[in-house]
Symmetry: C2
Subunit: 313 residues, 2 copies
């Protein structure tokens, strides 16, 4: 069925992959982005097939959309990395942005899929992966604001009947993910791949034994679409993850193996609010949404490196 979707943050890393997939599936797409981290070039190949509004998500209510949406994928976010430096900006984008999206959804009768963040849990407890019932322990304003946004979804469902599903991403990586020095945003895999391509020294914060649950972007997109298509509409929360820990040092070794080189490494101070151990169960998403990740870290990074090599040529 051809549906009308709005994608906030659609020019960003995950957003652009989602737009590509939805476009291939024949949907009618409107993309909203303020290009703070997104790039027009990410969707250059689709520019004649989508409608674009360049605006901050918290101003969504002042945009005059020419159609009524069936669904809103809300991916726009201020990044975790600049949250402590600019907590007010974080509140603008992450708290007010969520309310603006829910108000729009209320008006349009649209379903919302909100991409939240597994950082909400803080450091993983010992003895087994985290799941949706684990205790929340946000360690930055970003994480706290993602959590409160999930509550906004629940409140708008309970009071106004606005349909929504919340997904909490593990650490997403893949093609087009950017290092953004201005936003202090240096995604782990993208940074290492860039370092390898440019022959740069790698900086590791802390001892490198902190772990991430790395989910390849195509797997994340699969989960987000399943969340939209699901009949679950009560702001229920689903982890989209791989249930696998990979340390920062292991990521380095995978990149080195695929690139066929040995990289220079500098170990520096741990980052404030950094999380030591990440491993998340996706059992609930598997059972309720039919979600299952398809790509290993090695496969995902191989595709990223191939993409970077093609681009460099």
């Amino acid at each position: 069925m051809n549906l009308k979707y709005l994608i906030t943050g659609g020019y960003g890393f995950v957003g652009s992959h989602l737009v590509e997939k939805l476009c291939n599936d024949g949907h009618d797409l409107t993309v909203m982005d303020n290009l703070s981290n997104g790039q027009l070039s990410n969707l250059d190949h689709l520019k004649n097939k989508i409608t674009t509004y360049l605006a901050n998500v918290e101003q969504i209510q002042s945009v005059h959309f020419k159609k009524t949406f069936d669904g809103i994928f809300h991916l726009a976010t201020a990044p975790r990395s600049s949250s402590l430096k600019d907590p007010m900006r974080d509140i603008e984008t992450n708290c007010k942005g969520m309310i603006a999206v829910l108000e729009l959804a209320k008006t349009h009768g649209a379903k919302v899929v909100f991409t939240s963040n597994s950082g909400i849990y803080g450091s993983a407890q010992e003895g087994g992966p985290i799941n949706e019932n684990s205790i929340n322990n946000p360690t930055t304003p970003y994480d706290a604001n993602k959590l409160v946004s999930e509550y906004y979804c629940k409140i708008y469902h309970d009071i106004y009947g606005v349909s929504s599903t919340v997904v909490r991403f593990a650490t997403v990586y893949g093609e087009r993910q950017q290092v953004n020095e201005r936003l202090n945003w240096r995604p782990l895999v993208a940074t290492f791949v860039k370092n390898a391509m440019n022959g740069e020294e790698v900086t590791i914060n802390g001892d490198g034994e902190q772990t991430r649950d790395l989910i390849y972007v195509q797997d994340a997109v699969q989960g987000v679409i399943k969340a939209m298509k699901s009949s679950i509409n009560d702001a229920n929360i689903f982890l989209l993850s791989t249930n696998t820990e990979t340390s920062v040092n292991q990521v380095l070794h995978v990149v080195e193996a695929i690139a066929g080189l040995r990289m220079r490494v500098k170990y520096s101070e741990p980052l404030p609010g950094d999380i030591r151990k990440m491993r998340y169960s996706y059992d609930k998403a598997k059972v309720k949404l039919g979600f299952e990740p398809q790509f290993s870290v090695h496969q995902g990074i191989e595709r990223m490196m191939q993409y970077s090599r093609n681009k460099a040529q």
Copy 2:
């Protein structure tokens, strides 16, 4: 010891009682208020003893204070009653306001006492009072924003070492509490007392069997000051309550008994997001802060009615 305190929302209902008590105890007080619900007349008798700044709390960082504070009592808030109608305003005051206070505390090395709200729990579970470990279930943006503000306190403690203690008020009532129709704020006891004084019809939302844990303002002030004086500085949360349920209908009967009259009552629709049952344990505050409420509902309402009669003369 003579200490320098900043009180946000100090011209408000609870704030003005707190300022009175701290002033009597000989402290050096600065009060910040935007008079959205506070009134200058509340502290008219102390105007030569305190320093006043009229500003929104989220703009606190642009105020040039002439002294360094030892402690900040953060009471300024946008009210629960207008939260659904104006969720963006709620975020400005309640989320950004908290960050602004914590940033100021970081600069001054001041301790923060943040007055949160027991509405965060939503409707009480069956079988016993709620305590600090009970599950959160915020039912309005206001409650969600109070919760995220508590997390901000914890984050600022863990990352920057900012000292704070969080208190979650049960339903506070007492002299000077105002019905504010513009903000849609009709505090239960104050409304009934006003109705009784003016011979007005009483409107009860729902069947009147919803309960509140009513804490008299002098008891709430006692708890807030104990929280500031405590050596507990890690954003620990304390319920300030009475562990006693009083239904809306019972409040009506107490007011009628004290006023010596029978009031006309209209039962109307329940309010969206209203909480059915409130009863909160103050065991933790008793053990860790030495807090114990002194006033029964009858005693508290009697003092309120006496105050209103004196004012009317």
